[in-house]
Structures are given as C-alpha cells and as structure tokens.
Amino acid sequence: MINIFTRLAQSFKDVRANKTILLAMIRRNTAGRYKSTYVGFVWHLLLPVLMIVVLTITFTYIRPRAMEDFWIYLSAGIFPVYFISSCLRGRAITANASYVTKMKIPREIIVFSTVITEFLSVVFAYMVIIIVILLSGQYVNWLGMAMLPVELFLMFIFSLGSSYLISTITVFIKDVGYIMSIVMRLVIWITPTFFLASEAKGLLATIVWYNPFTYYVETFHDILYYGIFPHTEYLLMSLILAAGMFLLGAFVFFTFEKKFPEVL
C-alpha cells in the first residue's frame, strides 16, 4: 500500500524536474495538430468561434428556444463537458504506449500532458465567449467572474484524477476504453447543456444531480449565463468531487504504474 501523500509530493517534484519534457509533450500534442493546414495555430481559436456560431444558428433559427441568449448557456456548458468526457475516455496511457515502454520519464507526465492539452481548448473557448459577452454588453458579475479560474482549476483536478483512474484501468482491461466512450455519450445527454437543470422532469430530474458533471456545468452557467455568484453548494460539491476523484485516481495510478511497461 503506497502512501499517497508522500507519493504525490514526490510526483510533484518529478514533474517539476522534468518540466522540459512536459512542455515538449504538450507541444507535441498541440503543435502537430494543425501543422499541415494553411492557418495552423489559428484553428485553436477559430474552432470554438465556429462552434458557437453553429450552436447559435441552430438554436435561434432552426430549433428556436424561448430563452434569451441561449448560445451563452449552451457554450458555457458544452466545452467543459467535452473536456471532461475526453479525459474520461482513458486513452492517455494506451495511446502513448511507446513513451511508457521506451523512455524513463515520470509516467504521470504522459497523463498530465494529455489533460493539459484538452484543457487548453476549454480555455481558448472561454476566452472567446468572454470576449463576445463583453463586446455585446451583457451584464457581468465581476465577483462571480473571479470564481471562474477557481472553478476551472477544480474541474481540471477532477478530470486529471479521473484520467488517472480510467487510463490505469484501460491499460489492464482494454475493453474499458470502449465502454467509457459509450458511457460518455450518455453522460453528455444527462448533463444540463441543452436543457435547464430546473426544467428536467421525471427520471432525469433525479439522476441529473447524481451526475458529477452537473455541478461544474451549473457553476459555469451561474457565472457566465445568469451572471451571479455561483451557488455555494455547487462550489462545495465541485471541491469535494475534485479532491476525492484526484486522490482515488492518483492512488490507483501510482499503485499500478510500475506494471505498465510489462502489460503494454
């Protein structure tokens, strides 16, 4: 049984010592992505903009909703949900097997770098959203807005923990990767992105609050769409979920990581 806290302290030191490698891996994940395109890096910003445009057109003209500025509600929720679900697919280790088997690097860096790469998309998207909100003269609650980085950080920790957990399991049982991608599709539909949590009826009204994503998404809705200081219970749940998931994930990861090179 490993002592998770001393191991985490060690891991923190390792990651700091191998900062260059971490940055290189993030660059490898991002830089290569749009390399053969004409506008290259611009796609990082362009994609969220276009996505928001598509959502706005869909829900203003094709399937109009009575709600005012529904696009803010949608985009505030959809990017975090995509982020968390991509982390939960658990492909971080298996997709980078050669780094595990052929290089002596702290293995958490591999998970860390993939989560950061995904996280960057959320950050870019939110930057676009906030700029549009400010330009269109929407009401902004600055105190609430100050909580945004905190909540993003909590979401990051939650996703990192779950990525640790699922990617470890996927190394040993490859089937889990496929199961998770199906589960994630379901989770997206039971997270309040296209509907309001308060409007949910029947079964959905119950399970929506068992879904950990809901607390993060609702916090973002509070800040960006409703323009209020987020509900304390959402914040608290975000914190508890992040801490719990991170400790569990890290524990599982650090217990089994030594077996990775043999299994892969």
Partner: protein, 677 residues
C-alpha cells in the same frame, strides 16, 4: 560501490506473465496465464568507459535487460545500482511527429530527452549538419525513408548529455557510412568517460565497436569478456551448438536440419544415431537441401537401391550439387564401365612413380568416387603426389579435408595442405585460405591471416581477392584502415574484371597485323592490373626488345611480380637471373625458382631441373632425379624432353630385343601411345 563501477547488478531475477492456451485451469473470459522467467539471477559489474555490446538470440531478454538498467522495468528480485545520469534510447524512431519537419522534430525530441529549449537551439546547426540530410531537414518527417529517420534520431542522441547510454539496436539501420560515423561517436563518448551499453544483432558491429560483450542466453549471462572473444564464441555456438541448431531445424531450416543430421552421423554434441541421421536427412531432403539429397542417395547406393539413388542424385543435381551431378551422369550414362576402364589405365600409369600420375589418378578417384573406399584410395594417391611436392595434389587434398566429404572434416590438415599449395603460388589455394580464415566458420576467425592470403592472391591478379582486400582496407578489418589503398584495390578489381575483354581485343588486334602498338598498350594495361600471363609476356618483350625499348630491369621487375603466381614466369625469372649472374656458379635463387616452378607443374622448369641434375650445376649430381624430371617433363609435353625420353626408350627396346627373353613392359608402350596422341 567501487570507484569505477557505474552499474552494479546483483541477483537479478525477472519473469513475465505470458499467455499459454495449453494450461489446464479454464476460467471464463480470462486468458490462461503463467509466469515465464527471463532472468534467473544475474550478477554484472560495468565499469566507466566500457562500450558493452549485448548479444543473444531473439527473445533472450536483451531489451528487457536494458529496460531494467534504465529503470523502466523493475526487477522481481535483486538489485540494480546505477551511478550517474542514464539516457535510454531504446527505440530510435520513437516519438517522431510525422507532420513536423526534421528540424522541428529535432527540437521536440531533444526536449523529450530533457534538454532545455535554449540549449537545443544553441546546438541545432551542429545536429542538423550531423544528420547529413541537406534540404530534407525542412520537409515533414513522413516523407523520410526509414534510413533517414534513424539518421535523424541518432543525431539527436549525439547531443544528449548523460553518463550512461543505453541503446537498443542503434546501429542496425542507416547506410554503412552513417553506421561507421555512429560507431565512431560511441567510441568518442567512451573516451570522454561515458559508458555505453547497446544491443545489436550484427556481430561485426559489436566486434568493431565494443570493448566488452555480454552474451545472454538461457536466463543468465553465458559469457562476458572482450568483445571479439565473446562474439567468436557466440558465432561458434550458432554454428555448432546442437541445441541451437536443433531449434532452428525444428523451425524448418533445411541447412540446420542437414547439420543436425551430420551431428548424429559424427556424434557431435549428441550420441551417434543412424536412424536419427537418416530421419534428419529425409527432413532436409524434403526441403530440397542438395547435400542432404546427395547423402541420402549415397546411402541408397550403398544399400544397393540404385534406382532410388539415381532419382535422389538427380534432385540433388537440380538443386545445385556438383558432386551429385557427376554421380548422376556417371550412373545414368552407363559410363561406369568406361570409368572403371579409365581408372585401371591411370592406376597402371602410377607404377611409373611420378607425382603427376599419382595426382591424376587421385583426382579421377576423387571425382568419380561412389564408395568410401574410393575416397580413401584418392587420398592415398594424392598424399603420395603431395609428398613428392606436387602442388595440384596439395590443393585437392586441402579441399577434401576442408569439405570433409570422406571422413570427418579436418581443418588443421586442410590448412596444412592449402598453405603448402598457396606457398607454391597456387592462387586458388590462396583465396581458399583467405576464405577459411575470414569466415571463421570452421576455425577461429583470424582477419589478419585472412588478409595476408587475400592480399597474396590479389596481387597475383585474382579479382575476387582484390575486391576482398579492398573491402578489408575500407572497413579496417584485419589491417589498418586505409581508404586510399582500398580505392586502389577496388580500381584493380575493376580493371581485372575487364581484362577478359582486353585479352580478346588483344588477340584480335594481333591477328590484324599493323595494330601492334595498340595491342602492346593493351598488354601493358593488363600487366598493370597484375594479370600474371600478361606480365610474363610483357617481360619477354622487354627482355628481347621486341616492339619495346630493351630493358632487362623492367623485365626482371615484371617477372618478380608475376612469379608469385608460380609457373612459367618463375622459370623465366630464373633464366634471367642466371644470365645476369657473373659469379660463374649457378645462383641459388634461380635454382629455388626452378624447383618451385617444377613442383607447380611447369614442364619447361622440369626439363631445366633435369638438366641441372644431370650436370650437377648448382646442385648435387643425381642421375635418378635427372631421369625422373626428364620423364615428367616429357609427360607434360616439353618437346626437348620428349626427344630425350624417346631416345631412352628406343635404347631400352633395342637392348631388350637383343636380350630377347625380356618381357617388354606394356605400361611403357601405353605411355608412348598417349604421348603421341
């Protein structure tokens, strides 16, 4: 740890979990697994400044070993202490981003090895120069060939700073030039106090690069020591170990199957077993192994089953066995009677006691041998001829012992005979010796010795040896590396290759009178590329001043060069030395040359030697030797000798008829006929 030891391994054990469908416990959904040991207690110390090559068959755990030293894998038991920073380059082409350019990939990879960006940028130009990729450096890596990729990868490694380098299969890709550059780099690393461990399948690479080699086999270190010794043993084991060969044979390698058969036949590493011998021969024969087919046919033949033997010989012949082709022809064409007739004729001739006849009969027996007794007889006669200094017999014997087609292979004997033949200037023997030493298959590899023989044979104009010498100069094997000499030899090789056509051209030109100048130029060119016959005839022209400026010195020089290959040039040289000698006595050098030319089978030399014996010139007078050499010269077609011998025979006949009662020996008469025909 002691000062110098940078890696210390004690009692290392490791096993893998593997899937084994034959296990009995059946569990639903779960695959049947068991533990498979890879290492069972390894102790090893590696010192600073070693380049250690790790050898072993596929799957013996070479890569696993490196991974454990680098800390990627953890041992089940035992300890690995490592002093210093480790760089593990276990897969050179790992982590390239196909869409990024070579330049970007260098930066990315260097960072993946933990080199800060500023430092990378500082050395970037140097690295790019090292890759030798030119303009391709700014093209996406996906457009690179695999060789270019590994060059790129290795160049990145050049900039990695660590105390210990672990490299898996590093030098096996890329072209020869880059491989030697890379191997040079490893040597430089070691000179600056680093330590390098690498695995390779190329025994030559390990031998050339490493100071030390570790051979992993059967879960433990089988051998550890100086690289060339370990490689030698390893190469031997692959050739000679019964177990290794058996596993190859079971995998279906026909040559391994044949080897196993010979192991069973000779009782090497296993008890003699006739059934097994024949069983493995059959296995190999199914896969059309020519020698196995041939051996099987021999067995059938000795059992009296001629029909089956003929069929097998035919198959062996179709698959390239010359021996079988001959036997097949013999059996097919009802020529057996003819052969036995020829045999008896040649055997009768042997009563003359001339090495020439012994050798001829021995060769016939060898080439038409069907039974073991035939071989024995061949050996007997060839040995006699060889004892009398007959070079051709030495060569044949050497060849026989090398191939071991009668008794067990006897390399020492083969070497003795071949050396004898080679020292008498037999070119074939020279490069056969070179091959023997170079292959290291039957005896310990000795590049220096191999080089010596190749060089001899090459300087007498053997194209194959010239090429080999060039190769050895260029790789620095068996001789100090010298690119210039290598080039020279390659040039000689190519000019030798065109000599055949030159000769044709020369002959045609000579036929058309008036083109003598051109023909002479060709002759010069040919002798420049060490064509012995051309050198001799050019020397003759210099000596007589025919079409050339008379120059005895030039003639002598050419003859000396040509005389290495024996034969006529030696006689010429001897004569030239004799005429130049003013001391009045017959020069010893000439005598030696004449003797060696005679033993090489040159009829003119024999005649000359006979005369020397007769006159006691430079040698003790000996009338028996005189007669012996005179007869031999006449047999070989020397006209002067023929006249002398005819004179003798007439005299004897006259005396015999005078005596009347005497029986005229039929052998002599036969010989007479042969001479005239």
């Amino acid at each position: 740890m002691e000062n110098d030891v940078v890696i210390r391994i004690r009692g290392l054990k490791k096993s893998y979990t593997i899937i084994d469908p034959h296990l009995n416990d059946s569990r639903f959904l779960f695959k049947k697994k068991k533990q498979y040991p890879i290492f069972d207690g390894i102790d090893l110390d590696i010192k600073r400044g070693d380049i250690v090559g790790i050898l072993g068959r596929n799957g013996c755990g070479k890569s696993t070993f490196l991974k454990m030293v680098s800390g990627i894998l953890e041992p089940d038991e035992g300890t690995i202490e490592v002093k210093g920073k480790v760089a593990s380059i276990l897969e050179l082409s790992m982590g390239f981003h196909a869409d990024l350019s070579g330049r970007d990939n260098i930066i990315l990879r260097s960072e993946l090895y933990g080199i800060p960006r500023e430092e990378v940028m500082e050395h970037l130009d140097k690295i790019i120069e090292y890759t030798d990729l030119g303009v391709f450096i700014d093209n996406p890596v996906r457009t690179y060939s695999s060789g270019m990729r590994s060059r790129l990868a290795f160049s990145v490694m050049v900039n990695v700073d660590a105390d210990i380098f672990l490299i898996d299969e590093a030098l096996s890709t890329g072209d020869a030039a880059f491989a030697s550059k890379a191997s040079e780099h490893l040597k430089n690393l070691v000179r600056s106090g680093k330590t390098v461990l690498f695995t390779s399948h190329s025994m030559n690479t390990i031998k050339r690069t490493c100071t030390r080699a570790v051979w992993i086999s059967e879960r433990t270190i089988k051998m550890d020591g100086p690289a060339d010794e370990v490689v030698e043993e390893y190469a031997h084991s692959i050739n000679d170990s019964f177990e290794e060969t058996l596993s190859l044979a079971n995998d279906g390698s026909s040559s391994a199957q044949y080897r196993i058969a010979t192991f069973y036949r000779d009782g090497v590493g296993v008890e003699k077993n006739r059934e097994e011998w024949i069983r493995w021969l059959n296995e190999a024969a199914v896969r059309d192994h020519p020698m196995a087919l041939n051996d099987l046919a021999d067995i059938k033949m000795s059992e009296g089953d001629t029909e089956a033997a003929v069929e097998l010989y035919q198959r062996a012949a179709e698959n390239g066995s010359y021996e079988a082709r001959r036997k097949y022809a013999t059996l097919q064409g009802e020529t057996l009677e003819e052969i036995s007739e020829l045999r008896s004729i040649l055997k009768d001739l042997c009563s003359s006691g001339y090495p020439y006849d012994y050798c001829n009969y021995g060769e016939l027996m060898l080439k038409s041998a069907l039974k073991e007794d035939d071989y024995k007889e061949a050996i007997e006669y060839l040995t006699r001829a060889s004892e009398m200094g007959w070079t051709d017999a030495d060569l044949l014997l050497g060849q026989m012992y090398r191939d071991g087609n009668t008794e067990e292979r006897n390399i020492e004997k083969a070497i003795v005979y071949l050396t004898k033949a080679a020292e008498n200037g037999n070119n074939k023997a020279m490069f056969m010796l070179g091959d023997l030493y170079y292959d290291g298959k039957f005896l310990k590899k000795n590049s220096e010795e191999a080089f010596k023989w190749y060089l001899k044979s090459a300087s007498v104009g053997n194209a194959r040896s010239q090429y080999q010498v060039g190769m050895m100069y260029s790789s620095g094997e068996g001789v100090e590396k010298d690119e210039d000499l290598a080039k020279q030899w390659f040039a000689r090789y190519s000019s030798t290759m065109v000599n055949d056509s030159r000769k044709k051209a020369m002959d045609t030109l000579r036929a058309r009178k008036g083109d003598i100048a051109l023909s002479n130029d060709l002759l010069k060119a040919m002798s420049r590329s060490n064509h012995p016959a051309s050198m001799t005839s050019l020397a003759y022209k210099y000596e007589t001043g025919k079409g050339f400026k008379k120059s005895e010195k030039a003639a002598m020089e050419l003859l000396r060069k040509a005389s290495v290959s024996g034969g006529a040039s030696r006689l010429k040289l001897a004569e030239l030395i004799e005429t130049k000698d003013e001391s009045g006595t017959f020069p010893q050098e000439s005598l030696d040359l004449i003797k060696s030319a005679a033993s090489y089978g040159d009829a003119g030399a024999m005649y000359k030697l006979a005369l020397l014996y007769k006159d006691g010139k430079g040698i003790e007078q000996n009338m028996d030797e005189y007669r012996r050499y005179m007869r031999m010269a006449s047999e070989r077609g020397n006209k002067d000798a023929k006249i002398v011998v005819k004179g003798w025979d007439k005299r004897t006949e006259r005396r015999k008829s005078e005596k009347k009662g005497g029986t005229n020996p039929p052998k002599k008469a036969q010989k007479e006929e042969r001479n005239e025909s």
